[in-house]
């Protein structure tokens, strides 16, 4: 009698487990799942199917900040279009390229230790060398540091510097214009006007640069 009860309980349990297995098989076959839990006890991970990444990938591809994933040795595994635009380099040339080759020589040691020793939320500011020979100040911020790979956000620091630079430039032009009223000779006035003209040109170049950075990252037509 007791043995019969035990068999019945076991049978019920096995039926439930079979039903669960069949339900899972159906859901997978019908495309109703997009992730799996894999790995033994302490090393459990979630494996996302390719299409589950798509939305995040689009976000990363289109966002206004640069994004890269690099090995501890600084080799670029992934870069988004915005980062390629910052460098003025085709994105295809960035994959597997050493990140340090795009960073000023004086910043390379700091970049190297940043990639190896970083902890979450840490950041480092470096000069990024552009293909055209110019450079731009950027901030590298660690987003995640897993399996030895660092995922880093790259922020162009120029827009943050512009308000104070523009105010300084305007103050300087205003001062020069005031001095112009008190000059005694035509020659001195001509020199002062030339200086003012250069200052205005400098401000115009700054505005051009601002517009150029604003344009980077916009969807291509």
């Amino acid at each position: 009698m007791q043995q019969t009860q035990s068999f019945e309980q076991e049978l019920t349990l096995l039926r439930e487990r079979l039903q669960e297995a069949e339900e899972m098989h159906r859901a997978i076959s019908d495309g109703e799942v997009d992730a799996f839990v894999v790995g033994p006890g302490g090393n459990t991970r979630v494996l996302l199917l390719a299409n589950a990444y798509q939305r995040y990938r689009q976000l990363v591809e289109r966002m206004q900040q640069g994004a890269i994933t690099a090995t501890p040795q600084g080799q670029i595994l992934f870069a988004n279009q915005r980062f390629a635009d910052m460098l003025g380099t085709p994105i295809s040339q960035l994959y597997t390229a050493p990140l340090e080759s795009y960073v000023g020589i004086g910043d390379r040691a700091r970049l190297s230790s940043f990639l190896m020793l970083s902890t979450r939320d840490s950041h480092v500011e470096v000069e990024l060398g552009r293909r055209d020979g110019t450079s731009i100040p950027v901030r590298f911020s660690i987003v995640s540091f897993a399996d030895g790979y660092a995922t880093v956000l790259v922020t162009d620091l120029r827009p943050m510097q512009w308000p104070s630079l523009a105010v300084d430039a305007l103050d300087s032009i205003r001062n020069s214009l005031e001095k112009l009223n008190h000059l005694g000779s035509d020659a001195a006035a001509r020199d002062a006007l030339r200086d003012i003209s250069e200052e205005i040109n400098g401000l115009a170049r700054m505005i051009d640069q601002m517009l150029d950075v604003e344009a980077i990252g916009r969807p291509r037509k």
Binding site: E23, I28, V33, A35, V37, T44, A52
Partner: protein, 96 residues
Amino acid sequence: MNPAAEKWELRLYTAGQSPKSLAALSNLKRVCEEHLAGRYSIEVIDLLKNPRLAKDDQIVAIPTLVRKLPEPLRKLVGDLSDTERTLVGLQLKPRQ
């Protein structure tokens, strides 16, 4: 206990905001509001944030819904897009 007054505790295992996870949560909320209004709670567990929690309910595929209460425990795998199957799986409707 009166079945109409039973408290339902549901746990939905998701993988961040993956499309199927979002669909499952949306479908689950709709079913609950239509059939269990005022007497259910949904706990969402994001396994991307903490994969080890999968062990508690032996989760293999995501999304998976676990009915903790009323007992017995029931598991539904998938995005819950088939309302009939979801209702039967939750035992809110008899199997045909």
